[in-house]
Symmetry: C2
Subunit: 316 residues, 2 copies
């Protein structure tokens, strides 16, 4: 798998962002099958779980087993969400390749979401980076820093670009290996996406900037288009658009992995993903739980007649 | 309504493109209520029907009544699809403001769709323009020319940009007042959209170029984003995404009017549309028939907290 050429890196976040608000526990074996299938379909990075206490989110009670199972795929970048220093310690012990930490740009959202002031969350991030730095170079996980509500907040509404940049700078100064600009509640439009991403890219230097869009109001792939224009090469998505929005019951969640990969592929951008295998992965995953609500158009419409994927072109 | 400022003109096509494959007849009164509500919500142009023989599409058996009813709204641009010269004559007699004619760039699709060679359809278009020219200047309807399958064909697959340009030139030479680039089967991606639209704009000169996208594979609003970059100011859409794709049963149809208007509005582009009134129009329309399948995310998620529409800003 390591010889796969990729112009764009798509990252599966459904096992974390998709499942975290799902009421039913997905069996650990099904999670691992999903990870294996999607990795084999060509998705090279998967956020497999969250180290939040199972008391808060029972869905992640099997975080250890899921990480251990996922880590058997040698070339897969296994990442996990860490809510705090303790989560970071667990991730490090398990050998997770990448730890994802999140701070909300919206101070209100940060307070409601993790019951901490934003500044305190920034301090926690520094402590996590300091912990990582105590490890031998070869054992250090990458540390990703997500800017939640960077494109709008259910409590505060519009978020100023200057606030996003301020937070990005604090995380970069602290030592983030990646900045993830997140439209947590699906408020973004392509114009604002461009404005925010350009501003963050301007301060990020050589640190990669990723985009994490939700399709809550139908603008997900439009925002991807705007982000591509800015030069963004890293996108989060979830298989079948699994997930939702706690602020908009019934609304869709993350952008749909299959639709994203199809669009990128059609644009001639190599994702390394075999679309047929991805659709099969969706099909298998959809059978895991009876109450899963999946989204996405490609699965309903199928590939265009005569469609030649960049994946096939590459393999030929 | 004529004092409404618009950066972008959105045009409702659901009464034609949405209903034409719908198996159940929507009562004429419901169609007229839909037209009235959507016009009052600020949509300035509505394709209200098609002049195809009712034997072929019973949904349009009330074309005359629908046109007459719609034409009572003085400032509404009432348009109708015309399949041929006879349809043009009907439209002219009724006083329809704009006649929309369609040719498929794909020769195979043209043959299957209207049982005519593409060249013959081009000849028909010339005859229609010639008929219009016999009318006194003040009585002439505008004549729009749609390039169907311009971004892909269910029979032929990829369509060469050169073929699209060739067809556009023929229609422009014949006297089209507008060129509509149509992704009839939802194959388009933002990169191809840019390539095709730039090429068509280059030959269109001062004749307006509109875009007609379907969301069959989830890329509809992404393609709108690409089209906006090219300078396109005219977009077709259908309320609730009403419609579908005869080549992909179960798949979605035209891009969703509410989601489109929300995105444009969020980008600071004036559409003249009151989003709340548009959502109410959808709600009322959805009750017309029990078997209507509607799409769209805005209706599920609602407007962002603190959202200030350009419409409200304009009214204030």
């Amino acid at each position: 798998m390591s010889s796969i050429q990729r112009d764009i890196i798509v990252r599966e976040v459904g096992l974390r962002d998709g499942l975290q608000i799902h009421p039913t526990f997905m069996p650990t074996a099904d999670k691992l099958t999903w990870i294996q299938n999607e990795f084999q379909a060509g998705v090279g990075e998967i956020e497999v779980t969250s180290f939040v206490p199972p008391k808060l989110i029972p869905q992640f009670a099997d975080a250890t087993e899921v990480c251990q199972g996922a880590l058997k795929h040698k070339d897969l970048v296994v990442s996990a969400l860490i809510p705090n220093l303790k989560g970071a310690q667990r991730g490090i012990e398990l050998g997770v390749r990448k730890l994802n930490y999140v701070v909300s740009v919206s101070k209100t959202h940060n307070l409601k979401n993790v019951r901490r002031e934003r500044d305190a969350s920034m301090q926690d991030f520094k402590a996590i980076v300091d912990l990582i730095k105590t490890l031998p170079q070869t054992q250090r996980p990458l540390i990703g820093a997500g800017l939640s509500t960077a494109l709008g907040c259910s409590y505060e509404g519009k978020i100023a670009v200057t606030e996003v940049v301020l937070c990005a700078e604090q995380l970069l100064d602290a030592g983030a290996d990646e900045i993830v600009v997140c439209d947590t509640v699906g408020y973004a439009d392509p114009a604002q996406t461009r404005a925010v991403l350009k501003a963050v890219l301007a301060v990020a230097g050589r640190v990669p900037v990723a985009a994490h869009f939700h399709d809550t109001r139908g603008t997900g792939l439009a925002n991807v288009t705007a982000a591509l224009d800015c030069g963004i090469q890293y996108f989060d998505a979830s298989l079948g658009g699994l997930g939702g929005c706690p602020f908009a019951p019934g609304a869709s969640g993350n952008i749909v992995m299959e639709d994203l990969c199809f669009m990128l592929d059609a644009m001639g951008l190599k994702t390394g993903v075999n679309l047929d295998a991805l659709l099969s992965t969706r099909e298998a995953m959809s059978k895991s739980l009876s109450d899963l609500k999946l989204y996405g158009q490609l699965a309903k419409a199928g590939l265009p007649n005569g469609f030649v994927s960049t994946y096939q072109a590459q393999a030929a």
